[in-house]
């Protein structure tokens, strides 16, 4: 039973706009065996205000979210709600006090309807104690309308795309009358248009007086929607205040503890002859008449909205899916690629977007992941030679500056950025001609990001051809020699590096013609 209704809260916040925080954490510490994840951090969230929490991966952001939602208990420190000390012993306690989180991968249930997902655990009941379906669907519809989502509450969740799933997760947060909403990288998997809609929603929640904690790696969006910032570094809070008082560079300096000269250090490389030619490449449902060529030492960017068919083209080039029409030429020789094994043999490798599922065998050690596509080279007559394997893994992980305790450590125990380095090391060990990187820096910290970018430049400089699929405009603009924009399965435009503006990319991706 909740004694407080949403109107009470609104009245509350309306009365005391510049009052104390809705929730205040002070002196929070949390240790795990061998690691001090949080060391006496403070965080305050104010009603009607968006606070951005920034920090590199491993800075302690996720631990803090888990403490706020009652998954972890802090070793030390105090949590106060509206000034009164509280304890979040369980996730239920946190939910009861109105704290709710929308994670990058919020747990939702594919086989249940939208309404069921929204009200799971607190479904409206009729007088027999059974679920009151008509009321639940009506309530769900009301909430969805409130946030401007055009989703039928009786649809099954599995029929929704990722953006609509976010909206369902947010509706779920609203259905419990949340006072504190935590959004953990909510835009990481969204397209440009969907991101705009999400921002609108954040403003709406803010206007309703919710205290919002917004976690993101994207600085432009932080400055666009947040009012305050809190910076974590290595488990400590190193700065907080109003965003109006700081610049992007100030935040980056706080985060990394040093000046980061250039985030995208693309160095000019010598562009050679054509390595890969794709022509008339088509798929029955995913893409149509794709044609481009790729030169030695070139970085070719692929920009577009989610669902524009970029990944699908890349996966066809890598032999995962079969195109219905079209031809590939490698070094002017016609190539038929029917499986990843054949693609690797031809010198085309692919670093997928979904690292945990497609990129790495996370339960296997680092060295075995690195050598998996190169086993024929590290073995003799089919017998593996461990010394050769470790030598190969040692060489390529060192080139990528991998941070790990040992090469027999499981990949799953590494941070996202280091897992990505293992996947890239695996492919470089095959000595490829073309490396395709699909959203190579999605969800990894700024330090690893810079390392991946620097390395891409270096590879191009050594004569490797790089295709980079990315939805981040700064990354595309900073790294690419040429950019191809895809829209609805077709190429919407090809742009040279010189004179390229973000507006040109956005227009091509959205299909907006030249307007006076």
């Amino acid at each position: 039973m909740t004694s407080m209704t949403s109107s009470d809260i609104k009245a509350d916040t309306g009365k005391v706009p510049e009052s104390g925080p809705a929730i205040r954490l002070s002196g929070i510490s949390k240790s795990f065996p061998g690691v001090r994840a949080l060391n006496g951090v403070n965080l305050s969230l104010y009603p009607g205000s968006v606070t951005a929490l920034v920090g590199e991966n491993g800075a302690g952001k996720s631990t803090l979210v888990k403490i706020l939602t009652g998954i972890y208990q802090p070793d030390e420190g105090e949590i106060r709600c509206d000034g009164a000390p509280v304890r979040f012993a369980t996730t239920m306690d946190a939910a009861r006090l109105g704290v709710t989180a929308i994670h990058q991968e919020t747990v939702l249930f594919d086989e249940l309807t939208v309404a069921e997902n929204i009200f799971l655990g607190h479904q409206p009941k009729n007088r027999f104690g059974l679920i009151d379906w008509s009321r639940m669907n009506a309530d769900a519809r009301a909430i969805l309308e409130r946030i401007g989502a055009r989703i039928d509450p009786e649809m099954r969740l599995r029929d929704l795309g990722i953006a609509n799933r976010h909206l369902v997760a947010i509706s779920r947060a609203l259905s419990v009358n949340a006072r504190v909403v935590i959004m953990d990288e909510p835009t990481a998997a969204l397209s440009h248009k969907e991101i705009g809609e999400l921002y609108e929603l954040v403003f709406k929640l803010k206007a309703e007086g919710k205290a919002i904690l917004f976690i993101s790696h994207k600085f432009d969006e932080i400055f666009r929607i947040a009012d305050r910032y809190t910076v974590f570094r290595d488990g400590e809070m190193v700065g907080e205040g109003l965003l109006a008082d700081v610049s992007q560079n100030d935040l980056v300096r706080l985060m990394v503890g040093r000046d980061v000269g250039q985030v995208f250090p693309k160095v000019p490389a010598e562009i050679g002859g054509t390595v890969l030619t794709v022509s008339g490449y088509s798929h029955p449902t995913e893409f149509e008449d794709i044609g481009f060529d790729l030169k030695r030492g070139e970085i070719l960017g692929f920009y577009g909205l989610i669902g524009a068919g970029r990944s699908e083209v890349m996966q066809a080039l890598f032999g995962i899916t079969r195109p219905s029409k079209g031809a590939i030429r490698i070094d002017n020789e016609l190539a038929v690629i029917r499986s990843p094994a054949e693609a690797v043999a031809r010198g085309i490798v692919y670093v997928p977007e979904d690292r945990g599922r497609q990129g790495a065998v996370t339960a296997m050690p680092i060295f075995a992941n690195v050598t998996l596509p190169s086993l024929s080279r590290t073995s003799r007559h089919g017998f593996v030679r461990m010394a050769e394997e470790f030598a190969l893994a040692r060489e390529y992980t060192a080139r990528l500056d991998l941070r790990a305790a040992a090469l027999d450590q499981e990949v799953g125990t590494l941070s996202g950025g280091n897992q990505q380095k293992v996947v890239i090391a695996k492919w470089l060990a095959t000595k490829p001609k073309v490396i395709i990187l699909d959203e190579p820096t999605k969800g990894i910290d700024i330090g690893s990001k810079a390392a991946v970018h620097a390395f891409m430049s270096e590879l191009a400089g050594q004569g490797l051809s790089v295709i980079m699929v990315s939805s981040e405009i700064p990354e595309i603009m900073g790294m690419s020699d040429r950019v191809i924009v895809m829209r609805e399965g077709r190429i919407a435009g090809t742009f040279a590096r010189e004179g390229l503006t973000p507006e040109m990319l956005v227009r091509a991706a959205a299909g907006i013609g030249e307007t006076p």
């Binding site: 890598f318 690797v344 075995a368 596509p373 593996v384 991998l402 040992a406 090469l407």
Partner: protein
């Protein structure tokens, strides 16, 4: 991890976290070896007949044929699949051998028919699983009924008897002193599968597929082909077991080796093969075979009824699998890496 100053020198990650000795002590096989020694000592203590070389030799027949099946099955399970049709393949292979025998087939033909039937049955399973992408548990439950059903149609309530005298060598012959042909075969097959799984790139691919078939495919592993070969091997080993068992019994009934698929799965899982795929070693399966053989033999010497034995094996399975989990829970503060 300590923060390290970045320098121009490449920073190599060291190879191993644990030394070899530490890995061996902490392994599943060490635990199984301990269990095997305890059961051995209990047997020695409880029956004066246990230590007789010929009695021990007889006891090996409790696990040799099942072990042949379990080794290949272990590889299938590590790859994330399962083959429940193994005992039915054995029955069909034995039946077709019997049928050939009644038409005057000699020893080489009988062996070829036994192994060939296994290969064909394995190929059917393999095609259905790898080409059509059907779940192996459903496919092999289907072929389990199918293959044994064919045996019943051929034989009805009759039996094939009267195999050639030379044919008895496989199941009743001895290579040297108390070492039977079957025991030698068991050792050779164990070595073959241990080498295949632990020392070849094919073996490495099996682990990769079992842990994450999608990432394995995205790493250029030919997942379908590996799975097909594994089902082929599983069928072949069932055929080999059919030759041995038919030779030892000297007859074929359609009910031959009923329930062996579950005993083979038990042997593999007791041996530390993860039923969800991705991990396990052949050495563990060898020890599990020895343990199950000794338990059966020891209880036999003490005139314990068969049903009690199966209760004991069931308890042993649950106990051995539960021990590491319980130990982990008792020592939660111990850190890893």
């Amino acid at each position: 991890m300590m923060p390290v100053e970045k320098s121009s020198e490449p920073r190599f990650v060291r190879d191993r976290l644990q030394g070899r000795s530490e890995r061996i002590v902490k392994s599943w096989e060490s635990l199984l070896l301990l269990v095997a020694v305890v059961i051995f000592l209990v047997n020695v203590w409880s029956s004066p007949y246990f230590l007789d070389p010929w009695n021990l030799s007889d006891a090996t027949f409790n696990f040799t044929e099942k072990g042949l099946i379990a080794f290949a099955l272990a590889l299938v399970i590590i790859s994330g699949e399962i083959d429940l049709s193994v005992a039915s393949i054995l029955a069909l292979a034995s039946t077709l051998m019997g049928l050939a025998m009644t038409h005057g087939a000699g020893v080489p033909e009988l062996v070829l028919i036994g192994l060939g039937t296994g290969l064909v049955c394995g190929a059917i399973n393999g095609l259905l699983v790898s080409r059509l992408g059907l779940p192996s548990i459903v496919v092999t439950i289907g072929t389990m009924s199918l293959f044994r059903g064919i045996s019943y149609i051929i034989l009805g309530d009759k039996a094939f008897t009267g195999y050639p005298a030379d044919f008895a060598w496989f199941g009743q012959g001895y290579v040297f002193w108390v070492f039977s042909v079957e025991l030698v075969l068991f050792v050779l097959v164990a070595v073959f599968f241990a080498v295949l799984l632990h020392m070849t790139s094919f073996g490495r691919m099996i682990y990769a597929i079992g842990n994450n078939p999608v990432a394995a495919q995205f790493s250029g592993v030919r997942v379908e082909r590996v799975k097909f070969i594994l089902f082929l091997l599983s069928g072949l080993m069932s055929g080999l077991a059919a030759v041995c068992l038919t030779s030892r019994l000297g007859s074929t009934r359609p009910s031959i080796a009923t329930g062996w698929e579950l005993e083979a799965v038990t042997m593999a899982v007791l041996g530390g093969i993860n039923i969800l795929g991705g991990s396990g070693r052949i050495g563990g399966v060898v020890l599990a075979a020895l343990i199950m053989g000794m338990v059966t033999f020891g209880f036999g010497l003490l005139n314990v009824p068969g049903i009690v034995m199966s209760i004991f094996v069931g308890l042993l399975l649950i106990l051995v699998i539960a021990i590491p989990k319980v130990l982990n829970r008792l020592a939660p503060a111990k850190k890893r890496g």
